[in-house]
Structures are given as structure tokens and as C-alpha cells.
């Protein structure tokens, strides 16, 4: 096993009486695609929130690339190469697709205390932004205002925004949420391609996608990791089947 790029130790978060993270330990190796699955309310999005710095954990430690980032604000984590996509699309709706991605490029091109030059004609921002849009399959949609794009396009743009920050690791929160079958197939192809260059932590409900892409899978139930391992091992794990996979697997014809 290669060195862990992201290490989580004993992460805990409670909201009132609800324990969203109950001592989560997890290590994501450099270069792997690590999927996190679990039923609704298992605490997956809370976990992502703590990893990105939006939610402050009650206890525990997060290390990225050997450094403790537990107390860093969101923007500094992004600067260190940790990028996220949102489960519920979170874009700049009154900007064009290109403006959106160019802003993500700009965030990683030094400070933005430049008051004079027109940012929209700045090739240093526009060229990488165009390339990123093309990479996620949105070439030709550059000048469309985000609010008039389709849901599937929003999901693609979500990925583009994360990619444009040139991250080392992607945290993808249900990138396939609400997608049609065709769009899902395209998204899987895109993620498979991204997987070659990036470490990815993928939270996803679509089991076909998870088993097609993941190098390793962790199962989160009630804020605890109940199992972690390669897809075949997870598929065979009795506790996982009982807690979560059971219904899906039987309908998928893998019942053994």
C-alpha cells in the first residue's frame, strides 16, 4: 500500500442528540479511488463537510499530505489541493459556465487584489477554464448562463469547478445525484479518466458506479465505518449486506 494522502483519526461530530460522526477512522492512499457508501443519514455529507472545513469536528484529527488540517478554514484546504464538489449543485448561477470555471482557476492563480485589468479577457484564466470545461464535456457551452443549463450539465460543471483548482485530491459528494442513465454512464467514464491523475474520495448512492470505479470501499452506518476493503470483500461482508447492501444486491442478481 502506498502512503496515505488523507488520514482521518477518531473524527466525531454530534448535532444535539444525533451522532453524525462516531469516531471515524479512515485512510485514503495516494492514487486510489475510495468510495464511501451507506444508507441515508449515515453521516456521509457531514464527513465531507468536516473534510472541507465547513463543519468543525468535536474531536478527532484530519491529516492531508502529512499535515494536520483539522483547524484550517475551507479556503486554505482548497489552496493545499483538496477540492470538493457539492451534492446539491452550488454554482454561480448568474455567471456563464466559463465565468464559473475561470473563477476557480483565479482562486489558484495568486491573490486577486488586481483592480484594473479586465478578468474576462485574461487568457491566463480563460484558457485553462476552457480546457477544463472541454475535459468534463461542456465545450461549446461556455457562454451559457448557469441558471439556464440542465441538471446534468450542472453536475458536470460541479466537477469542472473542482478540477479547475488543480487539486491533488477530489472529494465528490454524490456526483451522479439526479442523473439519467445516459448521463450517469458519461459521468462514470469521466471519473474513470480522472482517477488516473487524482486521488478521489467518492460518496455515491449509485452502486453500479461505485463497484465499477472504486479501488476500495468503506461502509458508513450511523456515523461509524463498519467495514472497509476492496469491492469484492465488501460485497461478501455479511455485516454490510445486513446493514445496507442486502436489498440492492438481491435485485442486482448477485445473491449468493
Amino acid at each position: 500500500m502506498t502512503d496515505a494522502l488523507l488520514t482521518i483519526d477518531g473524527l466525531a461530530k454530534r448535532f444535539g442528540g444525533v451522532t453524525a460522526s462516531d469516531g471515524i477512522d479512515l485512510a485514503v492512499s495516494a492514487g486510489e479511488l475510495h468510495a464511501i457508501i451507506g444508507p441515508n443519514g449515515a453521516g456521509k455529507t457531514t464527513l465531507i463537510g468536516q473534510l472541507t472545513g465547513e463543519i468543525v469536528p468535536d474531536a478527532g484529527r484530519i491529516q492531508f499530505d502529512g499535515q494536520d488540517i483539522t483547524a484550517l478554514p475551507a479556503h486554505q484546504r482548497s489552496q493545499r489541493g483538496l477540492a470538493r464538489s457539492f451534492q446539491i449543485t452550488s454554482l454561480f448561477n448568474d455567471f456563464t459556465a466559463l465565468d464559473n470555471v475561470a473563477l476557480a482557476v483565479q482562486a489558484h492563480s495568486g491573490h486577486s487584489f488586481h483592480f484594473w485589468r479586465d478578468a474576462r479577457s485574461d487568457a491566463a484564466l480563460r484558457t485553462p477554464a476552457r480546457e477544463t470545461l472541454a475535459r468534463v464535456g461542456l465545450a461549446g457551452r461556455e457562454n451559457v448562463i448557469v441558471s439556464s443549463m440542465s441538471h446534468g450539465e450542472h453536475r458536470q460543471l460541479e466537477i469542472a469547478m473542482a478540477l479547475a483548482t488543480r487539486p491533488r485530491m477530489l472529494l465528490l459528494d454524490e456526483p451522479m445525484a439526479g442523473m439519467g442513465p445516459e448521463e450517469s454512464v458519461r459521468m462514470i467514464a469521466l471519473l474513470r479518466e480522472l482517477k488516473r491523475d487524482l486521488t478521489i474520495l467518492l460518496i455515491e448512492h449509485d452502486m453500479d458506479a461505485v463497484f465499477a470505479l472504486a479501488d476500495r470501499i468503506s461502509v458508513l452506518v450511523y456515523g461509524r465505518v463498519i467495514a472497509s476493503g476492496e469491492p469484492a470483500a465488501i460485497r461478501a461482508n455479511a455485516e454490510v449486506r445486513k446493514a445496507y447492501l442486502g436489498e440492492q444486491e438481491s435485485s442486482g442478481g448477485h445473491h449468493g
Binding site: 483565479q106 486577486s112 487584489f113 485589468r117 485574461d122 469547478m161 479547475a164
Partner: protein, 331 residues
């Protein structure tokens, strides 16, 4: 078709030419009232332009923006009273005072959102307002007369109405141009991004607070300069110039003219202030045949007409008058 030749641009061009020619007209006809009115309009348009930078582009609804008119104005008034007449000292001090105050207000208020932000900016403005009311040495709530406008070297003489008007006009155009450059720059992209989706801005790596604060200070500084001009124009400062209703007027100008548009605040300022002057006359003229002498009493209630007009624009023209003019183009 030429993309510059749009109804909006034609209207803006006409307005600018008109503004540039006001002193010429005034010189030929001897109409000083128009000159005084439009000097005021130009100065308040500058204040509205600065508010648009944070309100329109930055989504920061400051309900205390007139406080910078007061700080800029009082800086001039107090220095004049204390015998410092040189504009080379007065203006930089007034501008620095506005910037510093904006820095303090922004540093605190920008940690909050929505209604809290509005309330904190209002609270700071009220604080300074009552401070002005309590300034016995400088006229308290009666205000303070300025016996001499800011002194610059020859041939600049701000006591000359025409020179003063063009000074205000040039500074207005400069602040509109500056705002336009800023909002389209990298900095402006950050400001607009933070208005649209601050959470995403943080997620893609922007420490938005420092950019928003800088923007807040720029807006306060420009408005402080407008206060400097206003004090020189009226040769008088009083707490009334930073009363919260004045802050409300500035918001009305921005919303009426069109938020987040280059010339919206100018259009809004002209519309509001011209209506303020003409509506009473118009009401009196229309009502006299029906109610006779009571018409002049009716004219006092001109705001009854202005209110619904404003409501109509807010309800049916989302981009204000500027947005309305732009929509003409598509039809």
C-alpha cells in the same frame, strides 16, 4: 447593427451631455436654481455609485451609507472652523477618515449576514449621527456653517460655481469609470462571486472576507469624497446629512436606477431628485382646477405619488430603470 446603439446607451449619452451642458445653460439663462439642483444631483449620484459597488455588485446591503457623507462633510467643516482651509490638507484627511471608519464598520459587520449586516451598518451610522448631534463645539444638531470652501492653488477656485460643478462632474465620471474597472477586474469577479455564492467561493479557495472588506472600504472612501463635495456645495454640515433616511435615499437611487449596472445609480439619482423637485409643482398644477387653494397643501404629499412609482419599478422592472431600458433592446 452597432452594438453600442442601444436605447440604454442613448439615454445615458443624452444624460451625460445634458449634465456636461448644465453650466452652459445656466450661464446663458442666469438660472442658478438648475445649477444648484444639478450640483447636488451629481454629488449624490457619486454617493449612490459608491453604494452600488457594495450593494449591487457585492450584495452587501449597507443601510448606513450616508454616514460617509457625514464623515467627509464634517471633516471639512471642522477643519474649516479650526482655521485649516487648504484643500490639500482637508481632502486627504476627510478621505482617510472615511476609509478608516469604513474599515472599522466593515471589519465588524462583514462577519455577519443578511438582516444582521443591515442592522449593524445602520447602528454605526446612527452612532455617528448622535455623535454629531452632541458636538456642541461644532453646532450640534443646528449644524455648522462653512465660511470658505476648500482652498486650492490658482486658477482652481471652488467658490466659482461653474468650476465647482465641473469638479464634481469629473469626480462623478471618474468614480463611475473606477467602479466599472473594478467590477470587471479579478477583484470584481471575487466580489460578485461572493454575492452569488460565498460558500462556493470558500470551497474553491477564496478567503472572501478580506476582499469584501476591501470593497467596503473603497465604497466608503468614494462616498466620503462625495461628502467633501456636498459640504463644499452647501457650505454647511449638519447631522441631517447622515440621517438614516438619507441612507435610505441612496438605496432608493441604486434600486430605482438599477443595481449592479454601471450607470444605474446615476439614472436613479437624477430620477429621484428631479421627481422630488417636480412632483410637488406637478401635483399643484393638476389639482388647482379641482380643489383651488387646497392644491398647495396636496402638493406637500408628493411622496404619495413617488411611493407607488418606486413600488412599480421594484415589482415590474427587476433591473430598475436601467434594466427596463435594456429590455427595450430585445423587443
Amino acid at each position: 447593427m452597432n452594438t453600442w446603439f442601444t436605447p440604454r446607451n442613448v439615454v445615458v449619452a443624452i444624460l451625460l451631455v445634458f449634465l456636461a451642458l448644465v453650466p452652459v445653460y445656466s450661464a446663458f439663462t442666469g438660472n442658478t436654481f438648475l445649477m444648484t439642483l444639478f450640483t447636488r444631483i451629481v454629488i449624490l449620484a457619486m454617493a449612490a455609485t459608491s453604494l452600488n459597488l457594495i450593494l449591487g455588485y457585492g450584495g452587501m446591503v449597507s443601510f448606513g451609507h450616508a454616514v460617509y457623507l457625514g464623515i467627509g462633510g464634517y471633516a471639512i467643516g471642522i477643519m474649516a472652523q479650526e482655521g485649516i482651509g487648504s484643500g490639500f490638507i482637508q481632502w486627504p484627511v476627510a478621505i482617510a477618515a472615511s476609509a478608516l471608519f469604513a474599515l472599522a464598520v466593515g471589519a465588524l459587520s462583514l462577519r455577519t449576514r443578511g438582516l444582521y449586516f443591515i442592522m449593524i451598518t445602520l447602528a454605526f451610522a446612527q452612532l455617528v449621527y448622535y455623535f454629531g448631534v452632541g458636538l456642541d463645539r461644532y453646532g450640534a444638531d443646528d449644524g455648522l456653517n462653512i465660511y470658505r470652501r476648500s482652498q486650492f492653488f490658482e486658477p482652481i477656485n471652488l467658490s466659482n460655481r461653474t468650476q465647482f460643478y465641473y469638479c464634481c462632474f469629473v469626480l462623478l465620471i471618474a468614480s463611475i469609470y473606477l467602479t466599472w474597472r473594478i467590477v470587471n477586474s479579478r477583484f470584481g469577479m471575487v466580489i460578485q462571486g461572493a454575492r452569488s455564492n460565498d460558500r462556493r467561493m470558500q470551497a474553491i479557495g477564496f478567503p472572501t472576507y478580506r476582499y469584501r472588506l476591501t470593497c467596503f472600504v473603497i465604497a466608503g472612501t468614494i462616498c466620503g469624497l462625495a461628502g467633501v463635495l456636498l459640504a463644499n456645495h452647501t457650505e454647511f454640515v449638519s447631522p441631517a446629512m447622515m440621517h438614516w433616511t438619507r441612507s435610505g435615499d441612496l438605496i432608493v437611487m441604486v434600486v430605482l436606477g438599477g443595481m449592479a449596472s454601471t450607470f444605474g445609480p446615476l439614472i436613479g439619482a437624477i430620477t429621484l431628485l428631479v421627481l422630488e423637485e417636480t412632483l410637488p409643482v406637478l401635483i399643484k398644477f393638476v389639482a388647482t382646477p379641482f380643489v383651488g387653494a387646497a392644491a398647495s397643501r396636496a402638493a406637500e404629499y408628493w411622496q404619495i405619488v413617488l411611493g407607488p412609482l418606486f413600488l412599480l419599478v421594484v415589482l415590474f422592472a427587476r433591473g430598475g430603470i436601467n434594466g427596463l431600458l435594456e429590455s427595450l433592446r430585445r423587443d
